[in-house]
Amino acid sequence: MTDFIKNPVVPLPDRMPDPVVAKDDLFFTEDEKKQIATWVSRYPTADGAVMRVLWLAQEKFGFLPPEAVQLVADTLDMPYAKVYGVATFYTQYFKEKKGTYVFDVCTCFSCQMCGGYDMLHYLEDKLSIHAGDTTEDGLFTVQEAECLGACGSAPMLQVTNGPYVHNLTREKIDALIDALREGNMPQFESVTLPQDENELGGNRRTDVARTTTYTTPPVSETVK
């Protein structure tokens, strides 16, 4: 967000982009269509399933170029403009090609106070890119995110709209990148309260394998 505050410029998207997905690849398979039909059946109108289907398209094509948005619109018989509006509203839908792993580093209030920017800048230095950019090998994208709802374990980041990495430190970032280079995604981790350690064997949830405990968060170096 710092960049935007210093230089608050909203760009105009390319209004007449060339398609990137080949025509022959632009379809949903029969299985996908069946899956979409089940989602649609859960809502009074097909519009209700738009977010799920956009997600499916993003997983399939890697990101959502206009032609993928059009495919979703056609599949759900919705106006293309409306689906495009939804796709641009959510930052989790990627409108352009990103790295294989996308780091959403939270720099919102709580994380900021606990060193969110320190972590962001460390990542930027480590990967030699600026927030918003992708490494040359196409492996990593770093971007700033607003509150991801895990302030208790600030600072934190999210990997490609998936698992969170809590209580970030430089060492954790080093380990994360090494693991990702090997192709190992971090696992989902449930964060629990210290008192749960004694009471529930450390975990309120029975459905997760990995837990970590809230710790007193660090204070941002710039705030200190």
Partner: protein, 578 residues
């Protein structure tokens, strides 16, 4: 009907209506931006907040609870409510900014929010002077802003389509424009993209905002974010006079406002008429104004030589006299007013000619069942109701080539330009032509050419495709001084902005032409027919009395919104008056 109390005033309102609309119906202003009566209410601008309370009801008895004085106890909702999305209910008590400090404060703060990223470029903004945001900020807004950071820069001067230009920074994201494309026109060409401070309306990639009704979003945009590519930076709203009249591009007769500066029509915008075009106006109606300004003739001519009006009328009368009526062909016009066509039919009857026909201007497939019609002329119905038939080009041509026509009298049309006949067909035929433009293709063959006043320069009546008779009001002045016209111009060019707009006075912008109801009686007089009326109002009064197809259509009955005529087939030919 439910009774509600607004600012200590109790009124009866229609059931099922929103609170905001009932206030507006009562002429009680509530500031608002996103609400539009024809569209759904998203309640996103938050400007229409009011305090709303309902009478307390005893849970057991279901009776209203009364206080010691016998008045119902009112429970106010804990938060302010958006009046645009709140339906009225019996007993509702409302406090607006007139009685509530809280509401006043909310309106002020909301405006401060709306203006955080709004550029202060009113001095160069086309909307200034006619801008709900500007007006309401003056009335209800804060004096200054506490926002001290750089404003967000968004795309500016973006052509959403061929006719509409976006300034993203001015947008307050009311979504009126996107709702128009979703709910009214159904083109779905616009959407709001991005979120938070970054959002603005845009076409999705690969789409151009080119629907035939795109320019309506310019009217409904409550700020200057959407402007007309054509009219941008041409004139400030207060430099122009605004005349309520009707458009001439098709047979729908959509109601519009002509904006005139220095006797040039510079812009056409919509005028609400729930009986015809509701709130909307097609783009073609808006852009069709250059014809009023350009290529206009400069006074009458006789065989190509400039003459004064007297001489030209006399020459026309000479051509009509001493010819067998059966050898004179009259062509009325679907572009001319009903009054002028009526006078023409009287003249035709007097010289013993057939009832005039008229040239149809049908463009198959152009109409869309909404505000555009296949018929590209504004008054075909008026002609039909006068008993005129569309001219049969083949019959006319064969009569011309057989030498059966000596004189062709053409009112406000162009038989050569429309392809009804060719210049070569007209050799040896004397032609009297009332024309609008010096580019009229029949002009070279005309013996007498009489420049005619166009729809924005005359007084008269058009009947639209649904039989709605509507009045034309003069928006610009012509050279010839005419009492009736001068009075009507004075009346119809309401000075909305308290400015002496007629300061701009370029003589050449006033066309040397005459309305049909001046020219035709002048010629009639010279062939011994008295057609002098006290202006078109009297002509229409006579017509509405004597011709069942126009029954009731007096100027008073037509007023601002027109008069729906009975459905009739072809009316009887007019009673032949001596």
């Amino acid at each position: 009907m439910p009774k509600i109390t607004i600012d200590n005033r109790t009124i009866e309102v229609e059931d099922g209506v929103t609170l905001l609309q009932s206030c507006l119906d009562e002429d009680l202003e509530i500031p608002h931006f996103c609400y539009h009566p024809a569209m759904t209410a998203p309640a996103n601008c938050r400007q229409c907040l009011v305090e709303v309370g309902m009478p307390r009801v005893d849970r057991e008895t279901r009776e209203r609870v009364m206080d010691e004085d016998g008045n119902p106890v009112i429970d106010f909702m804990p938060k302010l409510q958006t009046s645009c999305s709140m339906k009225v209910a019996d007993g509702m008590v409302v406090r607006s900014h007139r009685t509530s400090e809280l509401v006043k404060r909310a309106q002020k703060d909301n405006l401060e929010f709306l203006l955080i990223n709004h550029p202060l470029d009113c001095p160069i903004c086309d909307q200034a002077g006619n801008c709900p945001l500007q007006n309401q900020t003056y009335k209800y807004g804060p004096e200054g802003s506490r926002f001290e950071f750089r404003k967000v820069a968004k795309p500016k001067n973006i052509e959403l389509g061929p006719r509409v230009v976006l300034d993203g920074e001015r947008c307050i994201n009311c979504t009126r424009c996107t709702r128009f494309t979703q709910e009214i026109s159904g083109s779905h060409q616009l959407t709001i993209i991005e979120r938070g401070v970054r959002n603005y309306p845009m076409t999705p990639p690969g789409v151009v905002f080119d629907e035939p009704y795109s320019m309506n979003v310019i009217d409904i945009c409550p700020v200057g974010a959407l402007t007309s590519k054509d009219h941008r930076f041409k004139a400030r709203i207060w430099e122009m006079s605004q005349t309520p009249s009707i458009s001439t591009t098709n047979a729908k007769g959509s109601n519009c406002v002509y904006h005139v500066k220095d006797n040039l029509v510079l812009n056409i915008t919509t005028r609400t008429n729930m009986g015809v075009n509701e709130f909307w106006l097609a783009d073609e109606d808006r852009l069709d104004y250059k014809k009023f300004n350009e290529n206009r003739p400069d006074g009458p001519t006789v065989r190509g030589q400039a003459r004064d009006w007297d001489a030209a009328w006399t020459e026309a009368a000479t051509l009509l006299s001493g010819v067998d009526g059966a050898r004179i062909q009259f062509l009325g016009s679907a572009h001319a007013t009903t009054e002028d066509n009526y006078l023409l039919s009287r003249l035709a009857a007097h010289v013993g000619a057939d009832t005039p026909s008229y040239i149809p201007h049908i463009e198959e497939g152009h109409g869309d069942g909404w505000l555009r019609t296949d018929d590209r002329a504004p008054n075909s119905q008026g002609c039909e109701r006068l008993g005129f038939f569309p001219v049969d080009a083949d019959v006319l041509k064969s009569r011309l080539s057989a030498g059966e026509i000596d004189v062709l009298y053409v009112m406000e049309d162009d038989p050569v330009g429309t392809g009804v006949c060719a210049l070569s067909d007209l050799e040896g035929v004397k032609i009297i032509l009332h024309h609008y433009h010096s580019t009229n293709a029949t002009l070279p063959a005309a013996s007498v050419a009489l420049p005619a006043a166009m729809a924005v320069e005359t007084v008269g009546t058009f009947v639209n495709c649904d039989g709605h008779a509507q009045r034309l009001r003069p928006a610009k002045a012509i050279r010839g001084v005419n009492r009736t016209l001068a009075m009507e111009v004075g009346k119809s060019r309401a000075d909305l902005h308290g400015t002496p707009f007629d300061r701009w006075y370029t003589e050449s912008n006033m066309v040397d032409c005459e309305p049909g109801w001046v020219s035709i009686p002048a010629i009639a007089e010279r062939v011994g027919l008295n057609l002098s009326y006290k202006g078109p109002r009297a002509i229409m009064a006579e017509l509405s009395d004597s011709n069942p197809a126009f029954q009731g259509a007096t100027y008073d009955a037509m007023g601002e919104w027109g008069f729906r005529l009975d459905v009739v087939g072809q009316s009887e030919p007019h009673p032949q008056t001596a």
